[in-house]
């Protein structure tokens, strides 16, 4: 189909050129025939005129004049090749002759009757040189015209074909693009549908999770409260009836219940961090840290700890989550420096691995770095409960807070040389973080 479409213009052009050539040839031939007939007629008339002149001379017997006439006429008319008058009795009058020309001659003959039974035959052979020259000239003209028209037509066809090819290519391109766009649109539509359905699924999972943690928050704590509360009631109201061992058992029951309470609280905090929506605000991290330290001091007033907080550390983060972050990290630092008489906790910034980051450093018991991979996993503890209390959920929560901000946290520590937690946070837009 496409081959036919591409060859069709050339076929048409060839036909048109052939037709033009044919008509040009026919035109030239027609012209030639016209001129030939005109020439033939004029030659006929010339012969008649000559014949009447010669007849007059022959009737009067002026034969010399006849010879002279033939000579003069022949030399004055350059297209006469041969002129010959022969009497019936065979007498040959004067004869005029020119060297042979290449063209076809026109021969005509007239019979002249004169006097009593006198008869002569006049033969005139005329050259066709003028007509031939004109004809050749016309042929050249037509030929040149034909060549010009043919080249123009060819050029035009070429241009047309090129234009058509170009526009066809353009058209194909446009078609392809439209097709691609339509495809993209449908793809987008299906993608949007998929996103919408996923979002709906997520929302339903989220609300299920919400309901789950709500009931955990309520229902799991109620029995614990009963265990702890009634144990305490026993200790207080029936202390006389209980010996030291029984009181110790009851205290253990209470401790267990309280530990489980903390565990539930920490798990709820972890899940809340995960499902809460990030609300970014310009936040002064230093102020948050100071608030956390103040709370720690209130809950543990006997400790003397050197606290160094670089002021005005502005970040763009979720204030609630940042407080959870710092209360876990600073709480850990507080806890693990317990045995140090010169406990120091530091919050500041530095450039590490070409990144501006925050750090919280303590000079506490530290840990072996070969366990560092376990550190941010929930329920992983590097110290025994007897040494340091805790649920093993704090650093998992810390990592979730940092990841929710799209940032990272890493740690550097060694046994008995303290630990340093490095973390990045989105930098503040309006204020210099450093």
């Amino acid at each position: 189909m496409w081959r036919l479409r591409s060859t069709l213009p050339w076929l048409l052009l060839t036909i048109i050129l052939l037709l033009l050539l044919l008509s040009a040839v026919l035109f030239v031939r027609y012209q030639w025939q016209q001129e030939f007939q005109i020439k033939q007629r004029s030659s006929e008339r010339e012969l008649q005129l000559l014949a009447s002149l010669i007849r007059n001379d022959l009737q009067t017997g002026n034969y010399q004049h006849v010879d002279k006439l033939i000579d003069d006429w022949g030399s004055n008319n350059i297209d006469i090749r041969k002129m010959q008058l022969t009497a019936a009795n065979g007498y040959q009058f004067n004869k005029f002759e020119r060297p042979a020309s290449t063209s076809d001659p026109i021969a005509s003959t007239a019979i002249i009757n004169y006097g009593y039974r006198g008869e002569a035959r006049l033969e005139l052979i005329k050259d066709f040189i003028g007509v031939q020259v004109r004809h050749r000239y016309l042929s050249w003209q037509i030929g040149i015209m034909y060549t010009v028209v043919a080249s123009l037509l060819t050029a035009l066809t070429c241009a047309l074909i090129r234009y058509q090819k170009k526009s066809a290519a353009l058209l194909r391109q446009v078609e392809r693009r439209l097709l691609a766009e339509a495809e993209l649109q449908s793809h987008n539509d299906s993608l949007e549908e998929a996103v919408a359905s996923r979002t709906a699924q997520l929302a339903s999972i989220n609300s299920e999770l919400e309901a789950f943690s709500y009931s955990v928050s309520h229902d799991l704590r109620a029995p614990l409260r009963a265990i702890d509360g009634f144990s305490m009631a026993l200790l207080e109201d029936c202390s006389q009836a209980l010996d030291q061992t029984c009181r110790d058992y009851l205290n253990r029951v209470r401790n267990g219940a309280q530990k489980m309470g903390h565990l539930i609280d920490d798990l709820l905090q972890l899940s809340r961090v995960t499902r809460s929506e990030l609300q970014l605000k310009e936040t002064n991290l230093s102020l948050v840290a100071e608030t956390v330290i103040k709370e720690l001091r209130q809950s543990d007033p006997v400790r003397t700890i050197n606290i160094s907080i670089t002021p005005n550390l502005w970040v763009r983060g979720d204030p609630t989550l940042l407080e959870i972050l710092l209360s876990n990290l600073l709480g850990n630092a507080w806890k693990f420096t317990r045995q140090r008489p010169d406990a120091t906790i530091e919050l500041g910034t530095l450039i590490k691995d070409n990144k501006a980051c925050f750090f919280i450093r303590d000079n506490g018991v530290g840990f072996d770095m070969k366990y560092s991979a376990k550190l941010f996993t929930a329920f992983q503890r590097l110290h025994s409960i007897e040494q340091f209390e805790g649920t093993g959920i704090g650093l998992a929560t810390v990592q979730r807070v940092i990841r929710k901000h799209g940032c990272s946290i890493w740690v550097d520590a060694s046994i008995d040389a303290g630990a340093t937690f490095y973390f990045t946070l989105p930098s503040s837009d309006t204020r210099q973080a450093m």
Partner: protein, 147 residues
């Protein structure tokens, strides 16, 4: 508002009820404690309907201790109805619940709760909370008995 020394405790968990009553007593709060086991019962008591038809509804409790998770009508709905009824709209309501969900705290306050106390697992803390409740809502309203 008529003076009354009653405390209305809306609580479905008998353990929590016993512990709360004990905690109040331990803090020398000797007010009469009326217990409603679900939201419907609490509203019937307050508005003198159902089994409490004929109760003098002008005798409002001194304070309402409201658990959020209740059968039939939940605590937040009870709070909403207390605040929309002209009879009880100024009644002090303390939300006393296990939930530490921020959403519950925000909703409670926006519905007009006067205070929000989380029931801690550690019962000493609960006593402390009850102690503060006693001081604030009973002493400050000058109807405390037995202190």
């Amino acid at each position: 508002m008529a003076k009354s020394t009653t405390i209305l405790l809306i609580e479905d968990n008998p353990d929590d009820e016993a512990l709360t009553v004990r905690a109040l007593k331990k803090n020398n709060i000797a007010n009469e404690i009326v217990v409603a086991r679900d939201g419907q019962e609490a509203l019937d008591y307050l508005f003198g309907e159902g089994p409490f038809t004929g109760r003098d509804t002008t005798q409002l409790p001194q304070v309402v201790l409201l658990d959020l998770k209740l059968p039939k009508i939940d605590g937040l709905e009870v709070l909403k109805q207390i605040r929309t009824n002209p009879l009880t709209q100024h009644l002090p309501v303390v939300v006393l619940t296990s939930s530490n969900e921020e959403q519950d705290i925000v909703t409670s306050y926006s519905l007009g709760a006067n205070s929000y106390v989380r029931k801690p697992v550690d019962f000493a803390q609960f006593l402390d909370a009850a102690h503060h409740l006693g001081l604030y809502w009973l002493v400050l309203n000058e109807v405390s008995r037995g202190r």
